[in-house]
Symmetry: C2
């Protein structure tokens, strides 16, 4: 065994602390697996006094100085957010350091630039922990499926919203009550916006789509709808048609004669309870992949948590350390396909619509006509009469999202329609 | 783009044909992902006249000549079996070629020797397709989880037996009828021994255990029981206690003060219907992984089939081709842990036992005493009387397998026991 590889750790919150602890506990195994020992060169934090567990001589507030230090080989970044991390990683690459990051927002925003900087420097950029925590997912997409054509990646990639939706289904509560419970139990942050409004899932969807389709996709290319508008009625209606409501990240390659495109979106959707993703409950994550030759695959595991995320970080650390020992960089990320992003308006989706209508002859015909006028074909309709009112539950076939959205707007204006009680997209129905 | 990388294909059955087709269909994508085009240098088969679809100038019966040809860079082996493949791959390594194989039997038998030969030559040996077909599983174990400590890998890794057991549960049929149906539908081979008697699963278990625990495990270290003794009664009893019967490949690291060991076994077992593996039906495969930091993970997908297996082969081919372009070998497989294999007799398991007994006072006490005498603790017992007879359904706590086995032998001898109607191990109960 020769000299140790030196690691600079940026950030020391829940994940960073777990990384430090596991590096120590597993020192012997890591040395055997890498071929050289790994040693922590320094830990950059904002407030050193808040980290009494970290040896004082390792702590520094000078992150830039740390990542460019001559004796540092590898940088592990678990700070999160865009700046100053972006500048720090670019400085690290320029100084010839390989980087392991858990930063979904940064990778989703600036992945192309960061990959280019890493490639130029001949070093590695790995970030398995950025999507679906401990689940080995990005390496399978980048490497195991590199000989296949991916068609679709559909995932539950945000534990907070999955917990909230699971609780709504279990208790019949509305969104506000379920969110309050999640906050109390620590499953939701004090400011839950990033999770609840789908920003977190959208960043992950951008990363997944980029890797799956070998094309640059950033968070701004992702259509995004959160779960705050999901009602107890939506959840109940879903159950009535054998479905459950999940916040899905959906990445699709849309095949077309004029040229393929990618459609990437995050929104709540009804999926059949028989779908493999339907039973993914609580804080777990799962990602369903459809590839041309491999067929259907699913990856399931813990999406968050200090130790689970640290496991993914350390797996990447072993990979980049092995590459460093071998004097090479691992396979980069290719974006040769350069596919355009298809706007949600043109993306084919299916809707579930529940309407309160007057229970009079001809209402169903009028409503059906409105769908037809927008070129939307109805798959199933159920009519339940009660007194002088009736409920119409309609599930459409696939149509461009704009046509479905326009249909719903028109339905709201119809005199025969007393109210649109539930609208949700539907996925996974055959 | 420079000169093409040249691939020698050994074998051209279902998987080999799919590899050839996909190499052609995806030539553009593969070139972009690898950085150089890939070209087939030759296809070694036993009977060239049986492969009219392969260009005649590529076909050869001289496999040894092909793998040692100067212009060949990479070898893809989809022949299967031990010899002549073992000798061919050793010759390929010696000639400096990297190898992608789908050969579970060979890797399970001679993995250590083959890895050593590849390492000595500074080339790659990858074999994702050897276990669980298209499911990216070996790369996650080798790389993604390389920073974690694996505790347990439990998988449904044989589609034929899973199909038969699924059908037994659905129809109430016995093993013989279900096997006949599977044979007729092409899910079982004419000689189903390798699948039905667990040899196939045992080879895969050996490979999984080696990678998971960084220790050499060969097929002879694996305890093996097939499914031919599973009865309709076993399946019915399982349903009564909320379980389903699956053929499991179980790889465990057994922690002990005197030194850890690995216990690797393949046998049918009852698992709760709520367990993630319980709903894996038909010809699908799934592998459940427990790691110290990552927690519980599951991988699910198609375990066999030409295209699915070819997807895994091509993923490996892209990886070894990229390494070849970069002039390096990928991370090898480490077996530094050198853990001993724990024999089944000492491995802790749990049993379900159903007994027909005389419905007389004191029988339960006598039976319970027999368990206690062997140091086996009973978790639950259910007694159903009918006339002068009764059925006792017992689920034990965990105990060394030898103690459980001795208990059952003793029970068979007891005058109060009219018959042991079902014995199966139980997994996944808390």
């Amino acid at each position: 065994m020769s000299d140790p590889l030196k690691v600079a750790l940026l950030g020391c919150g829940t994940v960073g602390s777990a990384v430090l602890r596991l590096l120590e506990e597993q020192a012997g195994d890591l040395t055997a697996r890498i071929g050289r020992p790994v040693e922590v060169a320094g830990v950059a934090v904002r407030r050193p006094d808040r980290h009494p567990d970290v040896p004082a001589h390792l702590l520094t507030t000078d992150a830039h100085g740390l990542v460019t230090r001559d004796d540092v080989d590898l940088v592990v970044e678990v700070i999160g957010g865009i700046e100053p991390v972006r500048s720090l990683l670019l400085a690290a690459f320029e100084a010839g350091k390989s980087v392991v990051s858990a930063n979904k927002a940064l990778l989703a925003d600036d992945g192309v630039e960061l990959h280019a900087a890493a490639a130029k420097a001949g070093v590695d950029l790995y970030y398995e922990a950025a999507v679906a925590g401990a689940i080995p997912l990005l390496r399978p997409l980048r490497e195991s499926l590199a000989g296949d054509q991916l068609r679709r990646v559909v995932g539950i990639v945000n534990g907070t919203t999955n917990y909230i939706l699971s609780r709504m289904a279990e208790t019949g509560h509305g969104f506000t009550e379920a969110l309050a419970e999640a906050t109390e139990l620590g499953y939701a942050e004090a400011d839950p916006t990033a999770d609840v409004d789908g920003f977190d899932a959208a960043a992950k969807a951008a990363i997944l789509a980029s890797l799956a389709f070998h094309t640059p996709v950033s968070a701004t290319d992702v259509y995004r709808e959160g779960i705050s508008a999901v009602t107890a009625t939506d959840v109940a209606r879903a159950a009535e048609i054998g479905c459950t409501v999940k916040l899905l990240a959906i990445c699709e390659r849309v095949l077309a004669d004029g040229g393929d495109s990618v459609a990437v979106r995050v929104h709540p959707a009804m999926i059949p309870t028989t779908h493999p993703l339907a039973s993914v409950g609580g804080a777990f994550n799962a990602v369903f992949v459809e590839a041309e030759a491999a067929g259907q695959l699913m990856f399931y595991g813990q999406g968050a948590g200090g130790d689970a995320t640290a496991s993914a970080v350390l797996g990447d650390l072993v990979a980049v350390a092995r590459n460093r020992v071998a004097g090479v960089a691992g396979p980069g990320v290719t974006t040769y396909a350069g596919l355009p992003a298809r706007p949600i308006a043109e993306t084919p989706t299916r809707y579930h619509v529940s309407l309160d209508v007057a229970d009079k002859p001809g209402v169903l015909a009028t409503v059906a006509q409105e769908f037809a006028r927008h070129g939307v074909s109805i798959a199933t309709v159920r009519q339940d009469g009660h007194g002088d009112a009736a409920t119409l539950v309609i599930v459409t076939h696939s149509a461009p999202d704009a046509a479905l959205s326009a249909t719903v707007t028109a339905l709201r204006e119809m005199p025969a329609v007393r109210g649109v009680t539930s609208i949700l997209r539907v996925e996974g129905l055959s």
